[in-house]
Each structure stands twice: as C-alpha cells, then as structure tokens.
Symmetry: D2
C-alpha cells in the first residue's frame, strides 16, 4: 500500500469523526425544534425553510463538490433529522410489525385466522345465482368441514351489460344458506353506500382488486367492527396494498386479512401471475393474516393444488377457492370454478399439507 | 404437382362448398331461433343447450377428428351463429365507432373538444392548496389562453396520512377562481356520495386512474349531464378502459373524454410508460375525444414537450398538464409540476404543433 | 319453452350431424393429401392453396354469414385438418409430456436430478473472484452436503466497464476446487465460441436469462452430451422458455434442467417477481426437471427461506443459491449473496422441507 | 414563529456551514487518494476500507442518530466522493451526451442519419424468402425513394421447427437486389461467428431484441467499422439499452443507431407497447440517432401511420417498416407486413410529416 494513501486515509478517519460529531450535534438541535413544533401542532416538514438552507449552502460552496452534490448530501442530512423526529410517526403505521410485533388473529365468529392457527379455507361460488345453487354449494362445502363461505351478490364486471349479481337479494340468499349450514358469510362490497345492507347480512367484507384504492369505501369499512378481506389490486405494489390496509386500521378496524390474487404481467399461460414473494413480504412487514386466492391468480384448474401447496409453504394463513355445482353454466368465471367432485379431490390433495403447516415453525425469523 | 393431390384437392373443393351450404342453412335456422328469443326477452346464450349439442356430436363422432377437435370446431360454429344474432347486440356498445361513426364533440361551456377542433389544453395545479395558490395559477394560465383549469380538492393518496385535499372548500376556491378568469373547472371526483357538491361547483368531472372501475361512481356520473374525463387505470387494458366509458354512456351521458396517463411497466426512468398506441386505438375503436396527461405519464419535466408533440401527432384531442406557482413546496407531486416560467416555455415549444394539428387530416382512414 | 324453438332446434340437431359427417369426410381426404406430401417431403402448409379455397368460398357465399365469418370458420377447419396431420408433428416437440410421459432424470455425475429424487441444492458464489474465495466456499458447502457447485467465470454485465469475470482462468480455478471437494461444477456459458473450454472444465452448462434465446448457443449445447441448466429469460413467456429447451433437445441433448429465476414486473420491493406458476406449468407441460433460483428472483435475503419452501412445495426438483465468504466485498451481486453462517441457518430452516418433499406424492395428477 | 425556533434555526445554519467545510475538506483528501490510485491503476472502490470506516463510525456513535442512519449518511458521503473521482469515469460513457454533446451522424453509404438530417425510412420484408420476392420489394421501395432495404437471412425463431431463414444464401440474394436498385442493405446478425459473411454482404448490421445483451456479438460488432442498428430488448430498461450501445462504442465503433420496437406489457390489443418516452430519453441521454420500428411495436397495420407520426414528432431519426409482395403467404410475421399498395398509401399519409420534421427545431432544450 502506498504510504501517501496511508497518510491521507488517516486524515479521512479524523474528518469522519469530526463530521459525525457535527451531524450528531445538528440532530440534537433539530430534535429540539421538532419537539417545539410538535407541542404547537405544527408540521415538522417545512419545504420553504429547506430551500433557504440549501440556497445558503450552495452560496457558501467553494467546491470541490458541485452544488448538486452539496444539495443532495444535505437533503439526506435533513431527511435523517426528520426521520429521527418521525420514528414516532413511523410507529404510527398501524399495519407495521414495528408497531405491533405480534401476529394479529382475526376472529370470524368462532374461527381464528392468522398466527399459529391452522390455515383456513374460504370456498363458494364466484357469484350467487340462485337459492338452489347456493344451497347446493353451502351444503357440500360445509359437509367437508369448510367454515367460511364466499359468494358474490354485487359483481364488478368490466362490461356494463354482463350479469351484475343479484344485489341485496343475493346477500339474503347467502345469509340464509350460511345460517342453515353454520357457515360464516364472506361477500364483496363495491361501494360505501351499500354498507348498511352488508352489515346486516355478511360476516366478512371482501374488498376486490378493483376497489383496493377506493378510499371512501376503505374509510367506511374502517369504521365497522366486522373483519375485512382486502385483495391486492391487479397492479398494486406491495407498499400500496399495505397502505390500503392502513386506511382500514387508521379508522379503527384492525380485523383485516390481506389476500394476494395475482398481478398483471406479460405471461399468457396464466390469467394473472401469483406473487408469493408478496405473501412472504406482507407477513414480514405487517402483523396481519395473509390469504391466497388460488382461483383468480392462475385462472387454471391444474394450478389449484400446486399453488395451494406453495401458498401454505410460504406461510399463507388461508386459501380462497371458487366452487360451483356446474361450472360450465356459471354466469361468471366459468372456466376456473370447480365442481363438487373436483373440490373433494382438491381437498384430498392438499389436506396433508394443511395439517403440516399447522405445526409450522417460524418462517421469517431468518 | 402429384396427380393424386390434384384429384384429392378437387374433392376438398366440393366438400368445402357442401359445408358452406350446410353452415349457411344452420345460420338461418339459428337466426330464426334468435328472433323468437329476442321477442320473448330471452338470452341468446344457453350453455346447457350447447353442452347437449356437443355431447350429441361427440357421441356421433367416429373420427378421424378427436372429440376435442369436434367440440372446438362446433363451438366456433355456435359462436359464429351467436355473433350473427349479436350484430345488433354489438351495435349496442354505445362507445363503438360501429354504432356512432362520427366523432363526438364534447362541449365544455363554449369550448368544443374532439373531432376537427383544435386540441385543448387543461392546466392547473395537482392539488388546490390555498386561495392564493389557485388565484395565481388561474390568472397565469388564463392570460396565456388556457380555457380549462384543473385542480384537485379530493386527492386519492396511497398513504392515509398524506395531504388529502381541501375537500368541498377546495371546490369552492376552484370555482371562484375559475369564475374570475372565465375558466372551466375540471376536478377529480372519488365517490358517488360527493356528486351533489361536484354538480354545484365543477364543469367537468375527472375520474382518476384508481377509480376507472369504480362502477358505482361511473353509473352515478352516467346520470349527470356534465362532461366526464375518464383516465385509464394504471394497468387497465384498452378494452377495460373503453368498457368503463360504456358504463357512462349506458346511463345516458355521452359527454365523455378518455385520457391516457401512462401504464405500469418494468421501466424505471419514467414514472409510468405513456402508451400512445392506446390513444390511437381509442380513437379508432370509439368516437370519443382522447386526451394525454403528459405530467403523470412520464413524471419528468424533460418529457413534457416531446410527449405533447407525440400525443398531438397521434391524434390526441387535448393535453393535460400540471402547473404550480412553486413546485418545490407543493403538497403533492412536487417533482413533476412546472412553474409559470417553464409553462410559458412549454407553450412556446409546443404551440407550433398545436396549430399544425388543427389542420390535420384524418390519421386513421388507413 | 316456445314450441317453435323446439322445432327449430330439432333442425339444428340434424344439421349438426350432417356437418359432422362432411367435416369428417373432409378430414379423411385432407389426411390422404398429407400422407402424399409427407412421402414427397413437402410442407403440409400451403398458404396459396388456402387463399384459393377461401376465395372460392367467399365467391360462393350467399349469406347469412358475412364473408369474414366464412373465412374465419374455414380457417378453423383447415387448421383442424392440418393439426390432425401434425399430431405426429406435435409429438415431435421433444420437451412435451405428450411425447415423453415419464419424468426425465438428469444425471450430473452420480447425482440424479428430477422425478422422485430428493431436491438438489446448487450453491456457490455469483462470480469466481480468486482461488482463495472459491476454495473457501467449496470447502464450506461440500462440508454441508452440497454436491453441485456454481461459480461464474464469464459474467454477463449490463455495464461494459463492470467486472467481467476471470474467464478461462476462472473455469480452471473452479474445476480444481470442485475436484478437491468432490463437487460437480456448474458455470454459465455466454457464447458458442467458448464451448471447448467449458467442455474441458465444467459438468453442467448454465445458460443465463439474457441468453435464453441465443439460438446459436442453444444449438451448440444441444450437440454436447453434458447437462444444460436453462434459465428463463426476464420477460420470456413459459412457452418461449420451453421452446428454448426444445432447441437443445432437437439437437440431441435431453439432459436439460429448466430454472425459473423471476420475471420483470412493476413491483419494486423485490428485484424480480418469482413466478411459481411457471414452475408448476413447466412440470405439467414438460418432463424435464425444474429448478428455482431463489437468489436472483427476490434479490432479498429475507425471502430465501420462504421462496425455497414455496418452490419445493410447488414441486421444484432443486434450488440454486449464491454463497460468498464476505458478500459485502463481492465483485457482483453483493446485496443478495449470503455468508457461511447465514447459509448454515438457511440449510437448517429448509432442510425439514427438503426431506419432506423427498416423500412427496404426485402434485399434478389433479 | 416561536422565538425558540428562531434561535435553534440559527444554530442549525451555523452547523450546516461547518458541515459543508468538513465535507469539502474530506472531498479534497479523497480526491488526492483517488489520483494516487489512478496513477497506480488501482480501483477507487475498496469495500473493505469502507466497512472499516463504517465500523469506526458506529463504534464512535453516541446518538442521537441510530447506527443505521449514521451508516447510511456516510455511505452517501463516500459515494459523493467516489462520484467526484468518477466524473472522469462517467465521462468515459461514450454514449453519453455529457461526453459528446453534439448529435452523432451515422453515414450509411451516402445517406446521413441523425441530427438535423431528414428522417430515413428502412423498408423491406421480414424475411428473405426467394430471389423473386426480394427483387419485387426492392424494386418497389426503391422506386418510391427508399434508400435502406431490410431483409432477414438468419431469423431468430421461438420454435426450432419454424422457418429459420435462407442463411448466407439469403445475404447474397439481398446484396444483389440492393446493388441492382442502389439500396443499402440492413440485415440481422445473430451470432459473432457469422461476422465474416455479414461483413461481405451487408451495409448495416441489425442486432435484434433477443440479442441486445449478447455481449460477445456486441463486442465483435464494436470492432467492425460498419454501422449497427441496435434494437431495444423486449424487457430491457432504457439504461440497459444504452449500456448495450456502450459495448459497441467501447470497442471503437461509434456508428450506432438505436431502435425502439415496443416492450412487453399486459396490454393485449397490441403485440407490444411502443415506448416513445424511451425514444425521447435516448435522444436526451445519448448523442446517437434513434429509430422506431413501427411494424413490431404495434403488430397492427392500423397503427402504422399514427405510430410513425408520433415517432417523428418525438424526434425519431428514422422509421423501420416491413413490406412484402403478399403478406398473407409470408413465411413469418404475416399479420403485420404490408403489401405494395398499402405501402404507397402509408407513404402518402406520413410524407407530409416527414418533410415537416426535417425543419424541426430542438425538442429537448426544454
């Protein structure tokens, strides 16, 4: 090693420690300002003041850093001081594991969801089409041990002329079938104005992918006390998905289940691309239960078993699947729902894993 | 050419014509059924009947086609017959050029939008932050000839703790500034429950990317008589975007402007990827005016001029751009809004094209 | 049901069977032509002849189908006949399960990969940087039971001024370390012109994502007899990936391992999005072993365990992971490689699953 | 404003300036080290030294910043110093406008491409299929004023059993037709081993999307003196595309034309999504000419005119389009090539813009 370098590096070492001392001193003063601002209910972020400081610095800058570099470095320093003030603010993200380290357990009636509880299956038809259809599915899945029943009464359809669901009558039909078979009823709500009807009939509100950022709906559901199953939007980042859950928690409802259902990509063999990294990250970053919708993500029957196994392996707290007495004549999603006999085979093929994962140890302490 | 092939090909030619005769005969009978069903208000599509026919055919099939091929071919034949019945149904897509060949001209007050009219610029701040800010922008852009003013009062924000807009007070501030400067007011509506306040204050409802498939909102706006500017969702296909517009028209409102604002892709240099093919296809497939939001699509100031020129070249009927007195201190989108001086240079750089495109001949008769 | 409909439907039933008879007759004649063409080594597809037939049909068409529908229906019929001739052709896709129903077992030395064999771990550094580094990793992973060692000597780098690997010297270093520790050596080959050097030193050729459609390279490797590990391209569809493998098999090399390593999407929390549906579908559609590269797909250490478990659950035949003595100073990929201590914990956390999957029953008989 | 805040802010102002002084001093010492390292041919980046410095700093850290923040701030400071040393390094990106501010003009024979020169059209069939086909297209496009002729002799095909091109015979056919009609010949090269044949026959090497990161090929072409047309990969970021061009320039060939041809997205109406922001950014960030391939990007004939106009408006230096005597019988890409009559109409519809853009002023001085 060149001796000159050794000497210069010693100078750098001293300068580093001097810088650290100044930065720490600056952080203390900034914290003092932050406390006064907090008392006065003022925002900590003041872009005008920031610009003045940056102007003063570039005025004083004599190189060798160009002005842009000086600005960029000091913006980092300003941010570090702010974040310091905001450790408390950050703690305010109610969805975050740093706020609530322990897993949330969502209770749907007597069924616990999340944490070390055995994974839960939500099964039922895509849409509620008739009393007979719902009765048939409810009877079948209840007999096989399912406790949560899904069925859509208000259907979000791309085409305005497609079957839009039976509406409130559908909710009543679903409620009655669930009562007959001791099932809990999960149904998708599309607008805050339907809240009263849903409060009367359903046990779990489902928020669909298209409404993940319908903030008026989220706020309204946040004021309910019933659990909400929040699907990830088709092109929502994980961060946006978690922030949508934050809307629910920020209004007081912490009974929130996240549900991954595939994202839009270029791939054509599958309807969407199931993103199991998102399931893992949702469990790492939040304390909420996370489900996987295996019907919509792949859009293919031959993927139901492998995607269920993969979802459970990655730590999902439950699976959602669509079952219909006669998928070929279903009024929606008729390519991907499964009939009773296939559902039975599906259960047999995945049950073994379901038991396994009930004993699972922590995946994410890594 | 082998003589045997020539002979066999002659047989094929005869078989082709025989098949055509049978297919045409079948189509006539199917059409007769369709007419009776229409009279009776019955759906033309009967999946149970289809399955019965397919079963009968595979029962009768003695090869050489495997059953799957027989099914697949007859499904095509069934569909062709159905589509025949649905030519009328297709005509019912009110957004389609096959229904309404002539360009729709949307009137915003005295400003015509669409068809051969000169492209229209919508300018204003991302969010309405204060009376002073709005007055400053409105005065500046009105003095430069702008007629439509944008400004958000209800802001859809990913993070529940971000600035959410001034709400109804923001609408009032925007309205008053627009009145002072003879501007028409465009503002984003996020929920059907806000409709009354918007009806009172705004001239054009904007539906944002996140709400493109908020069907309750779309239906409510479809019953208004004020124009709607409908942004494309971040990962909406062109077909889904047009179907969202169909919701508006199906309820009676044909004053609809489509607005492309970039889609989500893997690219990191730009915030989103502007899809100008979508602008062209929206103009080919529908009769509605189409705008380009140059601020959100690229998310970069250095792209504003080239994307404006490209948008106009591809036939856009207008451009939307965000202007702020001091973007650095804006409460939202502060990296992409431009200040007054930059706005003036923007106008100078694009004006020449704006005039040009006013004289443009038909792009899509190709 | 309207009686008129019943009558008309009976006519349709008869017409359906008449059509089927004609279609079958046509298929037989077409098959006869196909046989003659095959004998003569002629292509079955003759677009000029097709156009003549379509012209004859539209000339003869008197409705009610429009000409376009007639063309479209007959194209389907032509294709069905062709595909019939191509059942044999289709069987020629050597990668397809319909050609080879039984799982292929790839032998790397004495290590069997695929089918019911226990999943195999490939571990080693991203790049071969020095003799000391390779020796350290090889000794560590061999002591933990690893049998396949990876290490790049030729590195595909986006930036031409980045570290490009040690080249042939790197191959020699890797070979020697593998020989010392009874490891099999896997290294990425980027160009067909390097084949001789690789033949001398490596046990498994790796084809990287960027070269998945480097057809010259694929053909050259197809003529080798050493196994090839073929990574999926960053935006390759499953179909394109399988077709790339077909290039290898079509040249005579059936020792092919597919490897999923994440695709490009809009998501920013992960470097790429691991597509486990692709792993499942690759196993359904082909008979080849499929691996999951857990290092590159997520690009995050906290995802290594969950993605490994998910990969094994979905049926992966092995996992690829990057290990480095001191990731912080690695010359490439230094954010995602793991050190020895982390590697040991990784093994502990996943071993249990590894055993489990050795006993797994069929996932895809569903 | 609270007086206490005013006082504390004055302290901050002083600390800011003290920090700036220290940072500048540190930068000077770092630059001195960098100079010594450069003389000695050593890398400026030494991760071991960095780690030692960070350890010393966190050892010394007594708050209030947590260690992570200290590390993060100093990493920024280290990087700023490094980048300072690398201003020279950065200048080494030969593709960058900061290296070469003036537009590069690529000369193809007597045809200048780029800068203020009129946009250039490259036309010809997807694949060279026969002497007759090539003669017909060459004669037609030459008569219409085209000077650059494209035609593929080596075709990269997803399926190994698809038509792979006529190979070297195709190059000869193309060369002869070009000579007869005074055209310059553009053809895709897929592997470095074909270089000699291409050097003999073609005037411009085309590198296709699949080979954008075939670094062996890029380096070989970088040592040629003939122009290279470099297509963007299907999922390549703009940065990766520019870095691929850097491979060519770094080997000594600055006759490089970039060509955008659409990227992979979820949209289904178009084959790919043309990214015109990428064209604009390529022109902003580099000094190279940029083309738009309007045939492959949309994959639809009805988009050829609008995408050409948009491409020229955004500043493209040329357009590439596929023309075939009878697209219906083409051996590849038969849905998107256009026949002679359509080509003539295409020219008429776009010519007016072509003239216009010849007079265009600077788009990007904004």
């Amino acid at each position: 090693m060149d001796e000159r370098i050794t000497d210069l590096r010693a100078q750098i070492d001293t300068l580093n420690l001097d810088l650290l001392r100044l930065l720490s001193r600056r952080a203390e003063v900034a914290a003092a300002i932050g406390r006064i601002q907090s008392e006065a209910g003022m925002s900590h972020y003041d872009p005008v003041r920031e610009n003045q400081m940056l102007d003063a610095l570039t005025d004083a800058n004599a190189g060798p850093f160009p002005d842009d570099t000086v600005k960029s470095l000091f913006k980092q320093i300003f941010q570090a001081s702010m974040h310091q003030g905001q450790e408390r603010a950050k703690v305010r993200y109610l969805t975050s594991r740093s706020t609530t380290p322990a897993d949330t357990v969502v209770m749907v009636g007597d069924v616990p969801i999340g944490s070390q509880h055995a994974p839960v299956l939500i099964a039922g038809p895509c849409a509620i089409e008739s009393r007979e259809q719902v009765e048939a599915v409810a009877a079948h899945v209840a007999a096989r041990g399912v406790r949560l029943f899904r069925g859509g009464a208000f259907k979000p359809r791309t085409d305005p002329y497609s079957f839009q669901g039976l509406g409130e009558e559908g909710l009543r039909i679903g409620r009655e079938a669930c009562d007959r078979h001791r099932l809990h009823f999960v149904a998708e709500i599309m607008d805050a104005s339907d809240l009263a009807a849903f409060e009367e009939h359903v046990d779990v509100f489902q928020v669909g992918a298209r409404n993940m950022q319908n903030f008026t709906l989220l706020k309204a559901l946040g004021r309910s006390r019933k659990p909400v199953l929040l699907k990830r939007g088709l092109s929502a980042t994980i961060e946006e998905w978690v922030m949508a859950a934050e809307y629910l928690l920020s209004e007081g409802n912490d009974q929130v289940i996240l549900c991954e259902r595939g994202i839009r990509t270029f791939e054509r063999y599958t309807r969407h691309t199931l993103d199991l990294s998102a399931v893992a990250l949702a469990k790492i970053e939040t304390h909420l239960p996370v489900f996987v919708d295996v019907t919509h993500s792949g859009g293919r029957r031959d993927l139901l078993v492998p995607l269920t196994k993969a979802g459970l392996a990655v730590g999902a707290d439950g699976i959602m699947i669509e079952v219909h007495p006669d998928p070929a004549v279903a009024l929606s999603d008729n390519k991907q729902q499964i009939d009773f006999e296939t559902f039975d085979r599906y259960l047999d093929a995945t049950l073994y894993d379901t038991k396994l994962t009930a004993k699972r140890t922590e995946l994410y302490g890594f």
